[in-house]
């Protein structure tokens, strides 16, 4: 099991957002975490990588990581594309790439750069450009590339479609389909756009006010009229 979460609670100050989550992410493939605004999707991702105060058990690759520093969790091979993307706006695309691979000591960083250019050809054209001057879609691509350059076992993606034009969203999800097929990385995808996420995902969890209410194979959830109506709203 790649990631195992048991009884996870987290919140901000006095406000509790997550009330004991249990879920797993299996190796490879895409697991979607769906839910309305304020359900706790973003907080779940933050809790996994130690960006908020968290209780319970988060086990990554067989090791308990609850309460560890974010940088230590990242070094174990857990990459996170947070809301707001987490790129370094002041730095160039090249420097963002270098930072993505900062902790790696293997000799394959350069060949991974080439791989990113294959997946995100637009970033190659923007190589020397400051990240803050990229378009929204390109910034999202850069954020994903930066995270993949860590060579993670698990990639957390927080709403990659957020604020992007439908055409760009299609492009990014197309690239993610390729990444799923061509790399062994497991992806935990948080998405508001449930339809889109369920098309890509293998499994899915539905989150409502800090609790998981539905879980199962993505295809089943997509077909389930009742779930769709009451939780996904389409």
């Amino acid at each position: 099991m790649l990631l195992e979460v048991k009884g996870m609670q987290a919140g901000y100050g006095q406000t509790h957002v997550l009330h004991g989550l249990d879920f797993v992410v299996e190796e490879g493939g895409v697991t979607a975490l769906l839910g309305a605004n304020g359900a706790g999707k973003t907080t779940t991702l933050r809790a996994i990588c130690g960006m908020v105060k968290t209780e319970g058990d988060v086990t990554f690759l067989g090791e308990r990581i609850t309460g560890r520093a974010t940088e230590d969790i990242a070094r174990r091979g857990l990459a996170h594309v947070p809301d707001g993307r987490g790129t370094f706006m002041e730095l160039s695309v090249e420097e963002n790439f270098r930072l993505g691979a900062y902790v790696r000591r293997d000799g394959e960083v350069k060949s991974d750069f080439e791989r990113m250019f294959e997946w995100f050809p637009r970033l190659k054209q923007r190589w020397r450009q400051q990240a803050g001057t990229l378009s929204g879609g390109e910034q999202q691509m850069l954020a994903i590339a930066r995270a993949l350059l860590l060579r993670p076992r698990l990639l957390l993606l927080d709403e990659p479609s957020f604020g992007l034009a439908p055409l760009i969203v299609q492009e990014i999800f197309g690239i993610m389909r390729r990444i799923r097929e061509e790399s062994g990385v497991g992806i935990l995808l948080v998405e508001q756009n449930a339809n889109l996420a369920l098309e890509l995902a293998d499994r899915a969890y539905l989150l409502e006010t800090g609790r998981i209410v539905v879980s199962g194979p993505a295809a089943e959830i997509r077909e389930d009229e009742a779930v769709r109506r009451s939780y996904l709203g389409y």
Binding site: C49, E71, A74, G86, T87, L91, E95, L99
Partner: protein, 290 residues
């Protein structure tokens, strides 16, 4: 005309000192968003350490190198022991810590080494006047040292992966953690570097202004003015600003206000910049929607 040229060259020499201290200020500012008021006092303490080594008979450059390394360590320790516990505290707490540090380091220096003015040697001597007496050997040497230090710092931040990680940690600590950068240590390294740069500036200026515990007080003001001119968040701007203040201060002192009122020039520059262009010449204008 020779007098004028000499004033400019002397201004560049002292400007180099201001540029170094301004760079140290900016480095801490980028990481913490506060100005380290104690930067000057820390540099003075470093210079006294160098002085006692020279007095004890160590060769000048040995004392110089040892002081730079020791100052780096002191800077790292200050961050780890004093700044670390208050990292999430409000602004006033930081200001309080900086002022406390200023008083403690300043008075400790006086207590250990005494308040009498001391002569600090210059490693640069020449048998005759240089360039027809336009520039002294020390002015030339200290400017060269300053330029070497500034170049090394630039190369470090621009081309090494540690330098890149330090910039990333300063710009965006949250994202830096996500790529595995140990942000806390990057801040400590920043303090160490700032302290080391300050130490070089102190050792270069001490032969000119003589060594006493309040040696850097005025210099810190000029450096602050320089940092503001260039933009407090821009290292290159701070360096250019430091040189500009050095030349301006010297010219104003020689032809406009006289040496007694030179320090007022720094204050006038600070106020002028804050009124006319608060972000400085090369600083970033931060706008935010509300």
């Amino acid at each position: 005309m020779d007098g004028f040229a000499h004033q400019i060259i002397a201004g560049i020499a002292t400007g180099g000192i201001y540029a170094s201290v301004a760079l140290a200020l900016v480095m801490i500012y980028q990481a913490t968003h506060h100005v380290n008021f104690a930067q000057g006092e820390m540099a003075t303490l470093s210079t006294f350490i160098a002085w006692s080594m020279v007095e004890a008979g160590f060769p000048y450059w040995v004392a110089f190198a040892a002081t730079v390394m020791l100052s780096f360590l002191i800077g790292v320790l200050v961050e780890r022991l004093l700044m670390r516990p208050v990292q999430n505290a409000p602004v006033l707490t930081h200001v309080g810590v900086f002022i406390g540090l200023l008083l403690i380091v300043g008075n400790m220096t006086g207590w250990i080494f005494g308040y009498t003015t001391k002569v600090y040697p210059s490693p640069f001597t020449s048998s005759g006047p240089l360039m027809g007496g336009l520039i002294s050997a020390h002015e030339l040497g200290s400017t060269a040292v300053t330029l070497v230090v500034l170049t090394l710092v630039f190369l470090f931040f621009r081309y090494t992966s540690l330098g890149l990680a330090m910039r990333a940690a300063a710009y965006n600590p949250r994202s830096a953690r996500l790529v595995g950068i140990r942000v806390g240590w990057m801040l400590a390294l920043g303090w160490g570097l700032a302290a080391a740069i300050g130490a070089v500036a102190g050792m270069m200026v001490a032969p000119v202004v003589f060594l006493d515990p309040s040696m850097m007080t005025g210099i810190l003001l000029y450096a602050f003015a320089g940092a503001l001119i260039g933009g407090i968040d821009n290292p290159l701007g701070a360096v250019i600003g430091g040189f500009a203040v050095g030349v301006l201060e010297n010219l104003a002192g020689a032809y406009v206000v006289g040496t007694e009122l030179k320090l007022t020039v720094a204050l006038a520059i600070i106020i002028g910049v804050l009124v006319v262009r608060p972000s400085g010449l090369l600083g970033r204008v931060v706008t935010s929607r509300v």
